[in-house]
């Protein structure tokens, strides 16, 4: 128990390090020639990194039978949301300087901004329903709702690709990692469907019961 607590505190501090580095850089003037850009790029990258790490939890459990990682998933996901919030805030303050009319027009008009905004908005209900109370209240629907993270991650990667002038290097790497992580789920779902008896009635076609549903439920943070 103590070890688990300690590991969570350690992870929390570790996950906060990029933000701390940015704050320190702001105070010491060490964020490069264009500090605003450094803040925007770093918060965006860390939001995406945490999203991918969060999405890696289930594959790591399945492949390595390393179930202990599930207890960190909520914190990792919330850190993705934390960095996405900072990233969005940097857009509001550093790019648009609170010009809300211009922002609305920007989001509506430019696909690059639209998908970035979508990635962020899709994370909102996930962050809000990450508490024990909401997990209990939503029951089975919680799992369903939290599949939005897949859509959010796809939007985030597309946002990154559309942001750069040349699609080489990091955006391609991030997209590749996401494809592997989502591909893992697709393969598992297809396999599970093929091996499951055909008589079983599903709640809905869009919401196939994932094999790990019960396991996830019982392993939710106590």
């Amino acid at each position: 128990m103590v070890l688990k607590r300690l590991s969570k505190v350690l992870l929390f501090i570790l996950a906060l390090a990029p933000a701390a580095w940015l704050v320190r850089g702001m105070m010491t003037g060490n964020l490069g020639v264009n500090p605003a850009e450094t803040i925007q790029l770093q918060t965006g990258r860390w939001a995406l990194k945490f999203l991918l790490i969060t999405l890696a939890v289930t594959p790591v459990r399945r492949i390595f039978h390393w179930n202990v990682v599930i207890q960190y998933r909520r914190m990792l996901g919330l850190f993705a949301f934390f960095y996405a919030s900072l990233h969005f805030a940097s857009y509001i303050v550093l790019d648009q300087y609170f010009a809300f009319d211009a922002m609305v027009a920007d989001i509506a008009k430019r696909p690059f901004i639209t998908v970035g905004f979508a990635a962020f908005v899709l994370m909102l209900p996930l962050a809000l329903t990450s508490t024990k109370g909401w997990i209990r209240r939503l029951g089975r629907r919680w799992q369903l709702l939290h599949r939005l993270v897949y859509v959010s991650a796809i939007c985030a990667v597309v946002h990154f690709i559309w942001k750069v002038k040349l699609v080489i290097g990091d955006p391609v790497l991030y997209a590749g990692v996401l494809m592997v992580l989502l591909g893992f789920r697709v393969i598992r779902t297809v396999r599970a469907r093929m091996s499951s008896p055909p008589v079983r009635v599903r709640v809905s076609a869009a919401a196939p019961r994932t094999p790990d549903f019960h396991q996830t439920r019982t392993e939710l943070p106590k």
């Binding site: 490069g32 020639v33 264009n34 500090p35 605003a36 850009e37 303050v93 550093l94 790019d95 648009q96 300087y97 211009a102 920007d106 430019r110 696909p111 690059f112 901004i113 559309w162 942001k163 750069v164 002038k165 040349l166 080489i168 290097g169």
Partner: protein, 329 residues
């Protein structure tokens, strides 16, 4: 002369005082040596013939060396200059990588001596110049210009250079020459970005003849009174202050007179986003972001209003009268 020269601005207000004092020291201490070396090279050839290629390039560092023969100063804005450190550490030079600090990190390996610039195409006097000959046979002017990147950041930069027109006129372009094409060095052994793909190398840019001949158009060889560092496009680059920065092609090896609108690297890559003209225009947005405002380095906020033709409208707008600038972005 169309260039505005606000004489009411004291120079101390515009130029960093430390540099101003240093410049004199440099002139006194090292200027003579540099001039001597350059003169020795110039003496080996006529300056306009291919023979000059035979002359030996001087040994030693050639970037960041004080320029001795700066003859006049043209200031087009009274906004504060960006620091040398800012101008030399935040660059787009994709031959060295796509990160803003990649050029400062990797461009040092580019060999800039010997360096020849071929001027050819539709002209009566094609020539190949040694960079030293160009430096020596022309008066170098200081030009303080605004520099506006298509990515919506901007700086104010004190370039040192030669009006492009004076180099072009010497080649005597024929009446058929309607455009000028510029080409950057493409040497994969020294440019790690080339193997990463991306743009269709070598980097190419182009100007319409009247744009190329415009008195604001500069062939820059230095900034802040010193020869260009490699990351800024040493030893010779274009500066077209009313156009987005990518038009100001770096490390030029060839200038060619042509009769058709030349292919340009970014237009080839994405013609929907980067037009041939690419004049700074706050009313025509980039498809992915607004061009109405810019972030003046090192400000945190993107609140500086972008000016039509980057503030040079009264000098250049007439070249585009009657053109639909939305169509010809």
């Amino acid at each position: 002369m169309l260039i505005k020269k606000p004489s009411d601005i004291p120079s101390s207000e515009i130029t960093d005082e430390r540099w101003y004092l240093k410049r004199r020291d440099f002139l006194r201490v090292t200027g003579g040596a540099v001039l001597g070396a350059a003169a020795a090279v110039a003496a080996c050839g006529s300056g306009t013939s291919a023979e000059s290629l035979e002359s030996a390039a001087p040994a030693g560092p050639t970037a960041g060396v004080p320029i001795g023969n700066i003859s006049k100063r043209v200031v087009t804005t009274n906004e504060p200059l960006n620091a040398f450190q800012e101008i030399t550490n935040y660059n787009n030079f994709y031959e060295f990588g796509t990160g803003k600090s990649d050029p400062a990190r990797y461009a040092g390996r580019m060999t800039t001596r010997p360096w020849t610039i071929k001027v050819d195409g539709l002209c009566n006097k094609p020539a190949e110049y040694h960079i030293e000959d160009l430096l020596q046979s022309n008066e170098i002017e200081e030009r303080v210009y605004r520099f506006r990147c298509v990515e919506a950041w901007s700086m104010v930069i004190p370039w040192d250079g030669i009006p492009l027109a004076s180099v072009l006129k010497r080649a005597e372009p024929t009446s058929k020459a309607t455009f000028v094409e510029f080409t950057t060095l493409a040497r994969s052994s020294e440019m790690p970005g080339l193997s990463e793909g991306g743009l269709n190398w070598p980097y190419r840019e182009g100007l319409r003849m009247d744009e190329a001949m415009h008195p604001l158009t500069l062939l820059a060889v230095g900034l802040y009174g010193k020869t260009l560092l490699n990351q800024n496009g040493a030893p010779l680059r274009l500066v077209v202050p009313w156009k987005y920065g990518f038009k100001s092609i770096k490390s030029i090896v060839q200038i060619r007179f042509v009769d058709k609108m030349p292919h340009t690297a970014w237009n080839d890559e994405n013609s929907g986003e980067y037009g041939f003209y690419s004049n700074v225009n706050p009313n025509v947005d980039h498809p992915r972001w607004s061009q109405a405002t810019e972030r003046r380095i090192p400000s945190y906020f993107k609140t500086t209003k972008t000016l039509m033709f980057n503030g040079y409208a009264d000098q250049v707008a007439s070249m585009y009268s009657g053109m639909d600038l939305r169509k010809w972005y």
